[in-house]
């Protein structure tokens, strides 16, 4: 076996999570390379979010191991957390704070220098036309803006690995398109991006995907290769074929 561990960002071995008698993630084996945009696909309850939460150090695996950003997720979660960014599916922002106050809060808990955090935020938000100095509360922003702000907050500490849990749910198609452009640019800068989604058309944007069902990986590979193997025209058809 060639030694490719240097270029790997994530490697899981039989990663398993059980809640009581329910197995949410069942012996997941994945190797994800640096700079990849990697998609977790599957219906609701397929185990995508649980898998991601384990990889972030938020949940302890029941069995199996994983090394993420050179950290063991069970024993080095503290160190792991300084290297990753995470954006949950609910855009965890404080609606009663302004945009700037949200940015300052997250820069505070990540111990990022204020001036640096503000310039990072300025750069990421300006193209959306979001004004950092605005007195408006976050609750008054449209959903697309909130999504961008949540992404910004998870990037302030310049993580090498970014987890996006259903980042585009509830956002209109135009904003989704724009968001994927940002993700692509992040990958070009060398960041690894892990995305969960149940929009099969978005899977086409990923370099590689894993399709999950009932906690198990039922398909893994590049979208084009997978479509070819199963001779289907798009990911939607592939998914339906695999799941039924």
């Amino acid at each position: 076996m060639p030694d490719n561990s240097k270029s790997l960002m994530i490697q899981t071995t039989d990663l398993t999570k059980r809640f009581g008698r329910f197995t949410a993630v069942d012996k997941l084996n994945l190797s994800i390379e640096k700079g990849e945009i990697f998609g977790f696909l599957g219906a609701n309850g397929a185990g995508k979010t649980t898998a991601i939460r384990m990889l972030c150090g938020l949940l302890k695996p029941t069995s199996g191991t994983a090394v993420v950003a050179d950290c063991d997720i069970t024993h080095q979660s503290e160190q792991l957390k300084t290297r990753i960014g995470y954006m949950s599916q609910r855009f965890a922002l404080y609606e009663d704070l302004t945009v700037k106050e949200n940015v300052l809060f997250y820069s505070g808990i990540y111990q990022v220098e204020t001036s640096r955090a503000l310039s990072v935020a300025e750069e990421l938000l300006s193209e959306m036309g979001i004004d950092l100095g605005s007195k408006a509360l976050t609750s008054s922003l449209p959903l697309g803006f909130k999504q961008r702000l949540a992404l910004t907050c998870s990037l302030l500490h310049d993580p090498r690995l970014l987890f996006l849990d259903e980042p585009t749910s509830g956002v209109d198609p135009q904003a989704r398109r724009a968001f994927w452009n940002v993700i692509n640019r992040l990958a070009e800068k060398g960041k690894t991006v892990i995305v969960t989604t149940h929009f099969m058309d978005e899977a086409e944007y990923c370099h590689r995907v894993v399709i999950m069902q009932e906690g198990k990986a039922i398909a893994l590979g590049e979208p084009a290769v997978l479509k070819n193997e199963h001779s289907v025209p798009n990911m939607q058809q592939l998914f339906l074929k695999l799941v039924s």
Binding site: L58, L97, F105, I109, Y110
Partner: protein, 365 residues
């Protein structure tokens, strides 16, 4: 490593507090409403009690006794001039709260034996009022006996620390105890469960923050808020109701801080159990408000409770805090006289905090 995580959380929390009208409503309006309600509605004094007198003695001696009743200022005496068997009707129509029957041989027996009986009927459909009426009557008759030298034993009661038995003296400390436990426990448990509901807690937990940083950062603003609130209630209580403050103010602040810590630990504990704000609110209210009103000695004396309930009072923080601040405010107690309740509060705080932090850090996994 310099940590600026705690100030970041504190600042955010302070913004939440200042921007949420509900919090300010609880902290400012609730004490005012309760002070007014307790101060003016829960008056432990009754004046102008209507008393009907049936004087069958018709002597100067009996009239003197009746005069003593009206001179006490508590009673409005009248002679209804009705047959004795209509007394029930007087009570049914709610025209009188008490009836005094002076028998025919009153003056004569008193002269001869230095001792006689009168009958007192009290409407006890309101037992609290009845108890008060009874004690008023006893004191009027006691004074009468004393002056006329009928009583063999002369009892002179000296009421200490609250000589006028002003109810404000006991409810202002009680209200401080109640509002503090509510503000501290309720607001902290809501503040944490709100983040669970919104998903922001998950977002914080995925950062390299430590659980004690979250707890301290979230709780400190509420400590300050609770202390300010205590001073606010104290000031209103002292200016509006003239409640005295005889002891040391720094001592008061120190003990109040200890009590707030106990209440905050309770709030933290609640937030590790409850998943939603509503559940947290219900739990915090039932665990603080009811025990503080019913079982702390705030309104009902602990000694008058059944033994089983008395045991429960040992785990009510307000019980100890009330002993402390009544001691400081009304009696001018010093630290050594308050070591026992202080120790009890410290033990409770340490136990609750330990359990809460342990459960809280488990949530990280």
């Amino acid at each position: 490593m310099k940590s600026n995580r705690i100030p970041a959380i504190m600042l955010k929390e302070a913004n939440h507090i200042l921007r949420d009208p509900r919090t300010l409503l609880i902290v400012v309006l609730m004490p005012i409403v309760q002070l007014i309600m307790f101060g003016y509605a829960m008056n432990m004094e009754i004046r102008n009690l209507r008393m009907a007198v049936f004087d069958y003695s018709h002597t100067p001696t009996s009239r003197e006794l009746v005069n003593d009743f009206s001179a006490s200022g508590k009673f409005q005496v009248s002679y209804p001039n009705l047959p004795e068997d209509s007394i029930n009707q007087l009570f049914f129509s709610r025209k009188y709260e008490a009836v005094l029957l002076i028998p025919k041989g009153f003056a004569e027996e008193l002269n001869r034996l230095k001792k006689t009986d009168v009958q007192l009927l009290i409407d006890a459909s309101d037992p609290n009022a009845a108890t008060l009426i009874r004690s008023y009557c006893t004191s009027v008759i006691g004074r009468y006996n004393q002056l006329e030298k009928y009583s063999p034993i002369d009892v002179r009661t000296n009421i200490l620390y609250n000589p006028d038995m002003r109810s404000a003296y006991f409810f202002v400390p009680g209200l401080i105890a109640m509002i503090l436990v509510m503000v501290s426990a309720l607001l902290t448990s809501i503040a944490i469960t709100r983040e669970k509901e919104l998903g922001t807690l998950e977002q914080i937990l995925v950062s390299p923050i430590r659980s004690h940083e979250i707890v301290i950062g979230k709780v400190l603003p509420y400590i300050i808020l609770a202390l300010l609130d205590a001073l606010f209630i104290l000031t209103v209580g002292m200016t509006l109701f003239g409640v005295p403050f005889r002891g040391s103010f720094p001592l008061f602040l120190g003990f109040t801080l200890l009590y707030v810590l106990a209440a905050l630990s309770l709030g933290l504990l609640v937030s590790t159990v409850a998943q939603t704000q509503q559940v947290a609110m219900m739990m915090a209210l039932t665990m603080t408000m009811l025990p503080t009103i019913m079982l702390s000695g705030f309104i009902f004396p602990i000694a008058s409770m059944p033994k089983l309930l008395q045991l429960f009072t040992y785990i009510v923080p307000a019980k100890y805090y009330l002993q402390i601040i009544r001691g400081i405010m009304l009696k001018g107690n010093n630290l050594t006289q308050l070591l026992q309740p202080m120790l009890a509060l410290i033990i409770m705080t340490v136990v609750m905090l330990a359990v809460a932090v342990k459960r809280f850090s488990l949530r990280l996994k």
